[in-house]
Symmetry: C2
Subunit: 353 residues, 2 copies
């Protein structure tokens, strides 16, 4: 055991990296040699531990199982052609993690634990970050309520953990979506803007119904009227009408995506007219009908940019046209160039490990 | 190990019941000797096991920690003066559990596992059910997503468990409430009607703000307009205006409480005029101002009936008057008489173990 910056490190005897088949990975199923674990108790964070990845012992009365106090982040590390490893805008995830924590009545995690822990962990398992376009190490910081007891009140103990999973180039298959007109993901004054575990569970059943109809995702609309586009399961949504790019403003129902923010910046860099404003389903349907709707795409860490091939809204079904000058393709390319350090990182989004 | 009805039982060597101080219990902190555990895998429920209460091993990538697929029920067993143990309307909880399961894209639990497992478990730990008004054994069936993997999709494995905690007469202290006008608990088309773990986590932060202002609970209102009363954290809400009892209809935002349903029946039995309809905050405030508002009370398994002493809505603060013929007191008494089998159980709500 060695100690760095108050993080105690217990390394594995033998790495599993040599016996891992990186060509055959299922997303989120394989984990690296190490994980980070840190306990919050008696009102403070104890020493963080990096240790071999493995199961933890929890009581069945652990509050996370009953009252869902659980939040997470999703971020990636990339390896460039020179073999250097970079994180992409990790501060943004740390800040958002703590915003989620606050809304879920959980303690915030200080930079020395979140950021230093993350860097130390990625450094230790850097062999798990492979080269190749689309290839990355997916990083999953998360926090769970770990007090034992079934009284419905905030936990007095928490565990902050980071696990990491190697990911190959992500091909999601064709994506057609349903525009929600019955179910909803988040309430005004609720927790939609937080990466709260319960938000995702709530979306699975409607998403299963969409899958049965042959649609892979749902674009959520506002719960009160179902008139305005919000976001998809794990992606923010952009709509291109003519040459104008539109995306909903983030609010207390919509996650403020790091990829979304990056795409808005890249659009500005490329003199693309981009507006953050409410986008109505009616407006989109009308643009579809008169040929002005050129693209819909989702943005998120896991899949980066996902073009939507078609959508259904109530009885209206529409296939998106093929476009020569696809914004989705442009942004995907530009983001990859930054991720793999192939261009000048003018916005200083990369953090070298 | 013995096997009954396909439930495998592994009994403790020595019970902890003799060393438990029943006069000094903190709600939900002490658990009985045994618990039930049953795994769903490859599309079916495996054999249920009753075993000594204790920690379980789970991977940090277990889906419940990341995507919040977790539901629960809360119910009670009571011991009557003759020493018989009864459950109160357990079928209602089983049915509701499976409605929650469906909405959270989880498998339903068959009667042989939920109900037979519950009965077998209560039977085995019947020494933990103590006599005394207000005394009970709190039963907590729950289900968690147990597949390992951080892809945002429904789990392919689940654990159904039951744990049980002895509870003494519940005194919650004075309860004053804030009527929500900013935060909300549930969206139309969301999961408010389900006992989904994430719903509770979402309510803790607003509830902490209420506590800081000196209010113990929040009465949620509809997320879209904040004009209509919904329910409290773990209780449905009744309002008495004049001699009329009002409570919100249950819908996809509001849990269909077993205590609520029982109170409505008891009101009818006592020729009390009870209406299930939307109750507006405006109507309540007006009744408060003109002296017609006689009572507000919450109903739920844990605390049974909780009178609300006062409330705050934006700038309007109101204390409830003392009433001689309190409905809350009446229903509390009537429900206790049934729980402890002191009166004829005309609606057949008790199930003897
Ligand atoms: C609900 C939701 N919306 C949008 C996103 C996209 O956010 P980001 O670009 O930060 O990954 C995510 C996360 O990946 C998400 O979970
Ligand atoms: C949100 C919510 N509302 C109401 C209730 C009351 O339901 P019941 O009377 O079935 O306990 C509960 C559970 O106890 C609850 O969690």
């Amino acid at each position: 055991m060695t100690s760095t910056h108050d993080i105690v490190v217990d390394q594995v005897q033998e790495s599993r990296v040599g016996t891992t088949n990186f060509d055959n990975l299922i997303f989120g199923k394989t984990f690296t040699d190490h994980m980070l674990e840190c306990t919050w108790r008696d009102g403070k964070w104890e020493t963080a531990h990096i240790k071999p990845y493995g199961p933890i012992m929890v009581e069945p009365s652990s509050k996370v199982f009953h009252y869902g106090q659980a939040i997470f982040e999703g971020m990636k590390a990339f390896k460039d052609a020179q073999g250097n490893v970079h994180l992409f805008r990790p501060e943004d995830n740390w800040i958002r993690f703590n915003e989620s924590a606050k809304r879920l009545a959980m303690p915030t995690v200080p930079e020395e634990i979140f950021m230093d822990g993350l860097k130390k962990l990625v450094d230790l398992d850097r062999e798990w970050v492979r080269q190749g376009d689309g290839v990355s190490l997916y990083l999953r910081p998360f926090m769970i309520a770990s007090e034992n007891g079934v009284a419905a009140a905030p936990s007095t103990e928490y565990k902050f953990m980071i696990v990491m999973s190697p990911a190959r180039a992500y091909y999601r298959g064709d994506v057609r979506v349903i525009i929600a007109s019955q179910f909803s993901r988040a309430a005004d004054g609720g927790v939609g803007y937080a990466k709260a575990a319960g938000n995702y569970a709530a979306s699975f059943y409607p998403n299963n119904l969409a899958l049965e109809e042959g649609y892979q995702q749902i674009i959520w609309t506002d719960a009160a009227t179902h008139e305005y586009l919000e976001e998809a399961g794990t992606m923010n949504i952009f709509v291109r009408i003519g040459d104008k790019l539109l995306t909903s403003p983030h609010n207390d129902r919509i996650l403020n995506g790091v990829t979304r923010r990056s795409v808005i910046q890249l659009a500005k860099d490329h003199n693309i007219d981009v507006e953050e404003r409410r986008v109505s389903v009616k407006e989109m349907n009308e643009a579809a009908a008169n040929g002005e709707l050129k693209e819909i795409f989702g943005t998120g860490t896991a899949a980066v940019i996902v073009p939507v091939l078609g959508y259904k809204h109530e009885d209206f079904v529409h296939d998106l046209p093929a476009v020569d000058d696809s914004y989705a393709t442009l942004f995907k390319q530009k983001l990859s160039d930054i991720h793999y350090n192939r261009v000048n990182d003018e916005h200083e989004w990369l953090v070298k490990i």
